[in-house]
């Protein structure tokens, strides 16, 4: 188990400019978790649909408040629940700014996205990232994720500033 101070090796970022709200992430997550997706699409009042899931915070308040040490961080930085230690008190839900941890009424424990721990152990990628048609989900080492985001913004800036000149000129 990693501690809160260990370096984070993976980050998942959802590029809302690219996301179409198509729900593929929710579908694949639903499929591999037998009907219980941990990334879900929410439709907002302006008609935009966006996926919401655990942010795997670097200073995760859910880990801080968990009274039994069930909320933990794995060696790659993903925040996950150890169901053997969890008592289902949902203090993690109170602490989470995004309302992510969810009570599993059958298992009576808190459940949440673990960035596809099982798949990652086999050398695979989180399913939502692997299957997103729009490449709206960026995942990897934090510095690379930031670079990719800024690269995309650079493209947008150039298009906004220069494309008109090229096509009109």
């Amino acid at each position: 188990m990693a501690s809160q101070s260990d370096p984070i090796t993976f980050l998942r970022y959802i590029d809302l400019d690219r996301c179409m709200g198509c729900g593929t992430c929710e579908s694949v997550c639903d499929f591999i978790h037998d009907g219980k997706p941990f990334i879900k699409i929410y439709e907002t009042s302006i008609g935009v649909k966006i996926p919401l899931s655990c942010m795997h915070c670097s200073k995760a308040p859910c880990i801080e408040v968990c009274p039994t040490g069930a909320m933990r961080r794995d060696e790659s930085g993903a925040v996950y629940v150890d169901p053997m230690k969890c008592i289902g008190c949902m203090a993690c839900l109170y602490a989470c700014p995004f309302g992510v941890p969810e009570l599993d009424p059958d298992l009576r424990v808190s459940t949440k996205c673990d960035l596809c721990m099982d798949l990652r152990r086999q050398g695979l990628e989180p399913a939502c990232y692997a299957m997103c048609p729009a490449r709206a989900i960026i995942y990897g080492e934090p510095r690379k994720v930031s670079d990719e985001i800024r690269h995309r913004r650079a493209e947008q800036l150039v298009r906004a500033r220069l494309e008109g000149m090229i096509t009109l000129g």
């Binding site: 729900g23 694949v28 439709e43 692997a130 048609p133 729009a134």
Partner: protein
């Protein structure tokens, strides 16, 4: 899209144990997701598709600025090269009668009978999607200058890929009828193609538009004109060329079966809008590989194949999933159906093995 997101390699095959063969009809998001699951389980998977490449609407209709084509192509290549999924392209599968003409049939070179597939394979999954557009059925609709959103988007894509020599003709003043995602995509591409004016005409208000307020506002910012509470009554032609469209004003009434307020025509409110191109984006219809009923597989009035909760049809060897079951939906819904249908096929074939 990594359709084989659940495994690294195909499982090794035990010699002497025959592999089950599965045919998937239609290589869109549902078919390809099913192919990925089944390839991970070690099945021999053949995907039939009427286009020169699988990918369905993700490659042949939805604009590239939404879905980067290489993201789909890489997933297809992996299925083909690493998981030995065979793709039989430019091939339309249909019941043994004369095939129905759908949209996107332009590049089809071969027709294969659905019955042959059922005889040849251990299981067949139908994921043929929605390749027919609803039409307005108003006077003046037949002839040049009027097309469906799917037809326009499809022909633009196959022209850009070099499959056809001519671009679909887009005039200077384009009216797009509809308020869904196809309408939004068609309006956006019409603008990209250099139309001077693009008008979206929708019979309800922006609040009810299935594409959502945000997508429509984004288009308005790019120069598209939004016109709401109007419905077309006829298309006006002069020397067979489109000259305009007559629209009737509408008002909102009580909610209809869709839960949205019903648009009610206001008599005598007709007016004419100048236009030289009309794009109809009023919805798509399921296109099963047969008419009405075939080999025990039934489609409803809207072409949707009837399945049970495990995606089984009336034929024990045929499953169906995706938009051909649900009608037009989102990629995520097709992916989900494809995955669960594939799992259902797997469970069926493995239980057979034990008997």
């Amino acid at each position: 899209m990594k359709f084989t997101f659940m495994c690294k390699e195909p499982p090794s095959i035990v010699p002497g144990r025959g592999r089950y063969k599965i045919a998937i009809v239609g290589g869109g998001p549902a078919g390809l997701s099913a192919a990925g699951y089944l390839a991970c389980r070690g099945y021999e998977v053949h995907v039939y598709d009427k286009q020169p490449l699988p990918g369905g609407l993700m490659l042949f209709a939805i604009p590239e600025e939404r879905i980067p084509p290489e993201n789909i192509l890489e997933g297809i290549e992996e299925l083909r090269d690493k998981f030995n999924v065979e793709f039989i392209t430019k091939t339309k599968v249909f019941g043994d009668s004369k095939p129905r003409e759908d949209e996107g049939d332009k590049l089809v070179e071969r027709i294969v009978s659905l019955k042959d597939l059922v005889d040849k394979y251990d299981a067949v999954l139908i994921t043929t999607g929605t390749w027919r557009s609803r039409r307005l059925h108003c006077p003046g609709e037949e002839g040049p200058g009027v097309m469906s959103a799917l037809e326009f988007l499809y022909e633009l894509r196959i022209y850009n890929k070099g499959y056809i020599p001519h671009k679909p003709h887009i005039g200077n003043r384009v009216v797009v009828i509809g308020g869904g995602l196809s309408a939004v995509d068609a309006a956006m591409e019409a603008l990209n193609q250099g139309a001077k004016e693009v008008i979206m005409a929708y019979r309800r208000t922006i609040k009810q538009a299935p594409a959502g307020v945000y997508e429509i506002r984004k288009l308005i910012n790019r120069g598209v004109k939004w016109m709401e509470l109007v419905s077309p009554t006829r298309i006006i032609r002069e020397n067979n060329r489109v000259k305009g469209i007559e629209l009737q004003k509408m008002k909102l009434g009580e909610p209809d079966e869709s839960g949205r307020p019903r648009p009610i025509p206001i008599p005598g409110s007709e007016f004419i809008l100048d236009a030289d191109t009309i794009i109809e984006a009023i919805g798509e219809i399921a296109t099963p590989p047969f008419e009405n009923e075939y080999l025990g597989v039934k489609a409803d009035r809207r072409g949707r194949i009837q399945v049970d909760e495990r995606f089984r049809t009336g034929n024990p060897k045929i499953w169906a999933a995706g938009d051909v079951v649900t009608g037009p939906s989102l990629i995520g819904s097709a992916v989900k159906q494809g995955l669960y249908a594939a799992k259902s096929i797997h469970l069926e074939l493995t239980s057979k093995k034990l008997v």
